[in-house]
């Protein structure tokens, strides 16, 4: 099987603030891998460090190694090629507001020059079907994406990512802003997609993590506290685990290195 992603000794600074501290994780191929942790613990930063989106922020510094499908994305020139096969879905649905439903899905393959015409139509249809949105939008593909509801917009964003034919899909709390019904649909989708694609799922919902993933990591204040089978990490209730971490941190005087705020 091999690994999809191997992160080794990764540290990320925003200015002088250390957001990730020597993080190492290994994500096996063909599975869902959950990254758990309270708000502000560095989950999103870790996800964005994998596809280098973290570099969009001002004053960011990255140290350590991130290998995606065996390629060091920060140093190897083949990194760009590999990252072209990494899709991402965000916490807030963010379809491009100036594009139609069709173009939102087609834009990636089109701008990469991968497909056009009939072939592109097929690809868009395939991606929308995979994302479970085709039936709802097939008659209004040329309408602006902003006309869709929040849940539909999020599925559109999933279709946009799938149109890249990704080997790896990064999902940053993809259900956090959705109602339970839409959240359940997205979860179903994640389960189905995970048969073909490696998925890294950031979530602060331990039950969701257990429903979807077998393995994962627990982050706290920029560090990996535990990594491995979720059944092990979550052998105690999640809230108890977090409480214990916070208490331990208070006793230690919060050693001052990871300066993110503790819990919301």
């Amino acid at each position: 099987m091999g690994e999809a992603v191997r992160v080794k000794d990764l540290s990320v600074w925003y200015g002088s603030q250390k957001a990730l501290d020597n993080v190492s994780i290994t994500v096996p191929r063909g599975s869902v891998y959950a990254i758990l942790g309270p708000s502000g613990c560095g989950k999103s930063t870790l996800l964005r460090a994998i596809n280098k989106l973290v570099l969009l922020r001002d004053g960011v510094r990255v140290e350590g190694e991130v290998r995606v499908f065996g390629v060091d994305v920060y140093r190897d020139p083949r990194g760009e090629e590999v990252l072209a096969r990494v899709g991402m879905v965000f916490q807030t649905p963010n379809p491009f507001p100036h594009l139609s439903i069709y173009d939102n899905v087609a834009i990636g393959p089109r701008l990469r020059g991968q497909s056009k015409g009939r072939e592109l139509d097929e690809l868009v249809r395939w991606a929308l079907e995979k994302a479970g949105l085709w039936e709802e939008v097939r008659d209004r593909l040329r309408k602006p994406a902003s006309e869709l509801s929040g849940g539909q917009q999020q599925r559109l964003c999933i279709a946009r990512a799938l149109a890249l034919r990704p080997g790896l899909l990064l999902m940053d709390e993809p259900t956090a802003n959705l109602d339970p019904l839409n959240a359940a649909r997205i979860e179903e989708l994640v389960k189905e997609l995970s048969r073909e694609i490696t998925i890294i799922l950031v979530t602060h919902d331990a039950e969701q993590a257990q429903r979807l993933a077998r393995r994962g990591a627990l982050l706290f204040m920029g560090r990996v506290v535990e990594e491995g089978l979720l059944s092990g990490i979550l052998s105690r209730p999640y809230s108890k685990v977090l409480q214990a971490l916070v208490a331990k941190c208070r006793v230690a005087g919060g050693d001052g290195e990871a300066t993110e705020p503790l819990l919301p």
Binding site: R48, N51, L53, L56, R57, D58, E80, L83, A84, R85, V86, G87, M88, F90, T92, N94, P95, F96, P97, H98, I107, G108, L111, R112, C157, R160, A161, L164
Partner: protein, 282 residues
Amino acid sequence: MRLHSLKRAVLDRVFLAVTASATLALLAVGAFIVAISAVESFPVIAALGPALFIEPPGLPGGEFGGLGPVLVSTAVIVSLGVLVGSLIGVPVGILMSECRGSWLARAADAALQAISEIPSVVVGLVVFVVLVLPMRTPSAIAAAVSLCITALPYIAAQTRESLAAIPLSYREAAFSLGLPRWKAVLRLLVPMNARGVATAVLLGGARALGETAPVLFTAGAAFSAFYGLIGPSSTLSLLIFYFAPSPYENWRRLAWAAVLLLVALTIVLSSAVRRLSRGVKM
């Protein structure tokens, strides 16, 4: 205690009175400018009708004539200046926003700052030395170059600001498609921000339209006909500059008509800018 609250109430009133009267004064100035231009120019506009937009100005002391050739040359000079200004200013603005912190972006920022701070009469003089003297004639081209330089900082700065205002979440979405950076910027972020770029161009247009100093030595003062790109030329603001203080009644009247046209055009352009920039929804 009572004294204290009384003092506070009085201070409150004084503060309100001062700020409100300053605001009223400002409104009065604005209304006064528009009203005076309207009152002074309305009779001549009413008397001339469409001829105002077609005829050349009359001879000194003679008939009114019109502003036809001046309008043509103004349109040519301003459009040419803004076109070239946008061809340079928009890419510069993109670079300053997307390569923030690079030495090139910082240098561009400093250069634009300098250009926008230099008095515009100096820009006119420099173009006079560089273009008008070698060509041995003032020209529409020279005037367009001067206006282009004047408008450039506004176009570039507005482009940069509007791009920088794109929310991070859209920026992340664009960069998550695995595209080369230039493609993500030029094919996704810039089209997403089309209104911002249009705003920048219109802002440059409003700026160029109103400027007089840069065209003083560069356009010439050819009000009675349009002599092509390399012939002497004129603009509305230049006509006002020459005609308003002249001893001839008909020229002074024409100057007022030009004032009203200029005010109206500027208001139209700037309200278009406001409407566009407000309509950018993300």
